[in-house]
Structure formats: C-alpha cells, structure tokens
C-alpha cells in the first residue's frame, strides 16, 4: 500500500493569462511513489513541495495526472475523478498548527470524530492525549500552550480519526532545536506504530536526513531525485540536489581529460584547474559536473612540502566566518581564479593560526569528490 502520484499543476499570474495562452508563472510536475514509510519532501522554499501536498490532500486541484492512495483513486484527470478533501481519509498538520483557537484541546481533537459513539470518542481522545504525552492539557486552550505542545495537539487531532495517510507541512519550523529533536523521534515512532505513509515537508537538510526513510527532492517544480537518505546524500543526481545536500563547491561541465581504468581514476579539467577523482560507477561522458563539501577540503600550511601532490593548490584566505564549533573559510585558488569554501574544525584552525589574506595549501580529497 502507499501513494502513487503523477500530476501537474500550473499557476498563472492572472486568471485571464490562462485563456490568453500566456506561459504559466510556475509549473509543478510531480511524480513519485511512496510506500508505508516516512517520506520527506525536501527542497528550498517555492519549489512546489506544499503545492504537491495540497494536491494530494485535495485542498488544491491538479490540472492533470493521477493520484492513487492505498488503491483508492483520489484524483484522475482523464476519468474526471476528484475526491473531495472530506472523503480522502488523511491527517494534515499545518505549518502554523491551525488549532481552533475557540476550542480547548479535547474539543480540537474531537472535531474530527463526528459520528463516533460518545464513549468511543472519549476513549479515542484519551488514547491520543496519551500517545502524544499531553494528558494534562485536555482542558487548555491553544493560546495557553507552548509551540511544542501545540504541535503535539495538532498531531493528535490529525491522527484521531485514524487516517490512511499523514501529511505534515514543515511542522517543526517554528520550534527550538531540542523540542524539534524530540518531536522528530515522536513522528518516527508514530509512523513505525501505525505503518501508514507519512509525507513530511522540510527545507532543513539535517531534519530531512535524520527522519526520512525516503527523500523526494524538489527543485523548480520538479522531482529531481528519489532515494534513501544515504543515496541522496552521497550520490546527488545533479547540481541542484548536490547544493541542497551541502555540496557547496560545485564545478559544472568539467571536461574529462583522462580516464585511467587501471588506476580507477579520472582527471577533470575545469577553468584551468585539474583534479583527479575516483572513477564513478556510472558511464562516463565527455563532460561531468563535480563538487566537494566544505568539510572535505584539507587546509595545510603554505610551507608544507606537499605542494606538488595530487589535487593540492596554493590558495589565499579571503574571509572567515565563525560557525561555533567550526570556522568557514573562503579561499581563492592562486593563479586559477577559482573560489572554494572550506570548513575547518576549531582545533585544527587554532593549530594553523590563519588570518585573512594568509597563504595556505588546499587539498581536494580525491575519494570525497562527488560526481554527477
């Protein structure tokens, strides 16, 4: 069981633009399959994640395609099926919780239980309060709750009617780090217990990778890659995905100047900088894009005698930013007109005693280069 989706939705600046045949402002083209697992919709703001979620929920109507959930057709453009939201059996948690301010917690949870027997309803509310660990808050109004508590109530309300799928639209974006970590665990536990498809939107990559069974990467209204967190993190399919998963240094369309099958390496040339990388498993084209994460650049003193070793370049420190546990350095590669962003642990940074405009050596770790 799960969700099978393949649909499109167009946005026009004005309604009349559609009739006049003017190009839409934004097109969402979403194709994905999700089983009884926790799938994260990951991407920047404005890439179509929320629109996709709203199309699945029925709050928005797609312009074409199909959405099937657990074998039930929610939407089919050809057959003109568009199941109303009310009949879709889903739990939806909104970014701002959307708890009804004029009802206490119990009434909020009970709102989705219309038609239930009074005793069963009472029992279910108790069960939900226990599940989300908010037993003492039943009589409170939303304005009397903290952000984390509100989110728990929103989850309890969404889950109370026993939905077939759970949709969460950036549920933790307004919460502090500690509360967020606890709630992430809670969501994972809930998914494991209920075994239903859970779609979770986020633009935070730490959140995406700690919670997901599967990641669906969105960019510019399209699904760019679907895979396990490891797959997406280590093997991004293109530069958009690579950038999202923290590969800050990206060099697109580098020319493959040497393919050494014996040594298992390839040499890439890009803006007169040559780097050697591990030979990829996929078929090599004439041009490849590659990238390296800031933490995979090694910084060595300018006096180090490894200057002529593979993938090592002379560089100058242009600026430094303190990130707390580490420092981020902007480096200009000498005579190559390239910039690299490196991240250095505080300990190694102190040992090197670097200042702005200091010279150093930068080594691009061969085995850590990401090719796509």
């Amino acid at each position: 069981m799960g969700i099978k989706a393949d649909f499109r939705r167009r946005y026009f600046r004005k309604k009349s633009d559609k009739k006049k045949g003017i190009e839409p402002l934004f097109i969402l083209d979403a194709q994905f399959e999700v089983g009884d697992e926790l799938a994260v919709f990951f991407g920047r703001s404005g890439t179509g994640k929320t629109t996709a979620l709203q199309c699945i929920s029925g709050l928005l109507e797609p312009n074409g395609g199909k959405i099937i959930v657990n074998g039930t057709v929610y939407f089919d453009c050809h057959k003109r099926i568009n199941l109303p939201v009310q009949q879709r059996s889903l739990g939806y948690v909104f970014q701002n919780y959307a708890l009804f301010p004029h009802m206490d917690v119990k009434k909020n949870i009970a709102y989705g239980l219309k038609g239930w027997d009074e005793n069963e309803k009472e029992e279910r509310i108790k069960e939900m309060l226990q599940m989300l660990e908010i037993e003492g808050l039943g009589e409170n109004y939303p304005s009397q709750l903290s952000g984390g508590q509100k989110q728990r109530v929103a989850l309890a309300r969404a889950l109370a009617p026993k939905p077939d799928i759970l949709l969460l639209d950036e549920p933790f974006s307004a919460l502090d780090r500690v509360v967020r970590m606890k709630l992430r665990e809670k969501i994972k536990d809930i998914q494991r217990e209920l075994k239903i498809p859970v779609l979770f939107i986020t633009h935070n990559h730490v959140e995406a990778f700690t919670i997901a069974d599967k990641i669906v990467v969105f960019h510019d209204g399209r699904v760019q890659q679907i895979g396990t967190p490891e797959d997406v993190f280590y093997h991004p399919r293109n530069s958009h995905v690579a950038e999202l998963v923290g590969v800050t240094n990206i060099f697109e369309d580098s020319v493959v100047v040497k393919d050494d099958e014996m040594a298992g390496t390839i040499k890439l040339s890009c803006e007169d900088m040559e780097v050697t990388a591990k030979r990829p498993e996929f078929k090599i084209k004439d041009k490849l894009s590659w990238g390296i994460r800031p933490e995979n650049l090694r910084i060595l003193p300018a006096t180090d005698d490894s200057a002529c070793e593979e993938n090592t370049f002379r560089a100058c420190v242009k600026s430094m930013v303190n990130k707390g546990s580490s420092k981020v350095l902007a480096l200009e590669v000498k005579e190559k007109s390239n910039y690299l962003i490196a991240e250095l642990g505080n300990q190694s940074f102190e040992n090197m005693d670097l200042k702005a405009e200091d010279d150093c050596l930068v080594r691009i770790e061969r085995d850590r280069i990401v090719l796509f």
């Binding site: 929920s57 029925g58 709050l59 939201v85 009310q86 009949q87 879709r88 889903l90 739990g91 939806y92 909104f94 701002n96 959307a98 009804f100 301010p101 004029h102 709102y111 989705g112 219309k114 109004y141 304005s143 309300r157 969404a158 009617p161």
Partner: protein
C-alpha cells in the same frame, strides 16, 4: 402618556429588533458568500447590497414604494391577491429598517470573515467536515466580534431610521410613529417637553446597548 412615549418606544424596539434579527441572518449568509466564494456578478451583488448606504434614505424609501406600494411592481401583485398593502404598516417600517441597515451588517461581517485565516477551514475539511458545518462551527465563531459589531450597528441604524420609514411606512399615530419620527413630530408641534423626554430615552437606550456590547466583547477571549 403611553400613546406619546410608551407606544413609540415599544414599536421602535419591535421594528428594530425584528429587522436586526432578519439582517443578522441574511447578512451572515450574504457575507459568507461574498467573502468565500467567487462567482460571476459578485460585484453586482456587492453594489446592490451597499447601495442603500450611499443613497439618501428618502430615495431608498421612494424606491420601496415604487417596488412594494399598492401600484408597485411587486406590491400590486400582493394587493390583487390578498387585498392588502404593506405601505403605512409597521411591517413596512421593518422592511425600510432592514434595507438601510443590511449594508452595515454585510460590510462589517464580510471584513470579519475575510480576516479569518483560511487554514482553520482547511484544517476542518481535512478532518472530514463539510463546508456548512465548518462555516457554522469554525468560521462564524472566529468572526464573532465583527458579527456582533455588525449587529449592534444595524440595530442602532434601525432605531435611528427616519427618511425611508417616513416615505414607506408614514407617520401614523398608534401604528408607525417610531421614536425618531415622534421626536420630529413633537419638535414640529413645538412640544419641546415631549421631544426632550424622547431624546433622553433614545440616548439612554444607545448608551445601554453600547455598554452591553462592550461587556460581551470583553468576556470573549478570542
């Protein structure tokens, strides 16, 4: 004494009360539709409802006579069928009050409903609730301050209604002489003692209704 003060007071409360009740119900329906639905000719409905707010009340009264009078477009049908005409009855005063106070209710309530975050309604839909259910239990309760303000304004407008009522319901002692009209008559007749008395009663009534409204709103948390 009753004829001069008691009757105008009671007939005013009866007319304003009844018209406000009708205004409140129709106003909420119209406002909800204007705030939440898109349809062809929405602007026309908006204009028609708002028109009495900008028209001089005498014009509104005149139009009501043209429409509902004995020889009017709808009035003549009613007269031919039943032999009864609404002109110069207390029911006519209710209709006049209704027409002039509806725009105040609709304008205030529409703004209040538009201010309710649609996410609450979407949340209700995802919880399986239909639109009518959501409107009654989520949208309108969340817009209740604006709705109450609309009701108070409509009631005040109905109590103070003069021009359209005079045109459409007349000034018939013991039938349609409301407070506002009685004050005018007393003033015209040089009976300043009666005029003062009626004016004081109207001012006290207004103060009381404002105090009650403020008390209610203060007790509402949301």
């Amino acid at each position: 004494m009753f004829d001069q003060i008691g009757f105008p007071l009671l007939i005013t409360l009866k007319i304003a009360g009844l018209s406000t009740l009708i205004v409140a119900i129709t106003g909420m329906v119209i406002s909800y539709i204007l705030a939440r639905r898109d349809f062809v000719g929405k602007w026309l409905v908006d204009i028609l409802v708002t028109l009495p707010l900008v028209l001089p009340p005498t014009v509104t009264g005149y139009l009501l006579v043209v429409l509902l009078g004995k020889k009017g477009m709808l009035g003549s049908i009613l007269y031919n069928l039943t032999g009864w005409t609404i002109v110069f009855t207390w029911q006519a005063a209710v209709i006049a009050a209704f027409v002039v106070s509806l725009p105040l209710m609709v304008k205030t309530t529409t703004a209040a409903i538009e201010a309710v975050d649609r996410e609450y309604e979407y949340a209700a839909f995802t919880l399986g609730r239909k639109e009518l259910d959501t409107a009654l239990f989520i949208t309108l309760p969340l817009a209740k301050k604006g709705i109450l303000a609309g009701i108070v304004l409509s009631f005040a407008r109905a109590v103070g209604e003069f021009g359209a009522t005079l045109m459409f319901a007349g000034n018939i002692p013991g039938r349609t002489n409301t407070m506002s009209i009685s004050i005018y008559s007393a003033f015209q007749a040089g009976n300043s003692e009666l005029a003062n008395m009626l004016v004081i009663i109207l001012i006290l009534m207004s103060l009381l209704s404002m105090a009650i409204t403020a008390k209610i709103i203060n007790n509402w948390k949301i």
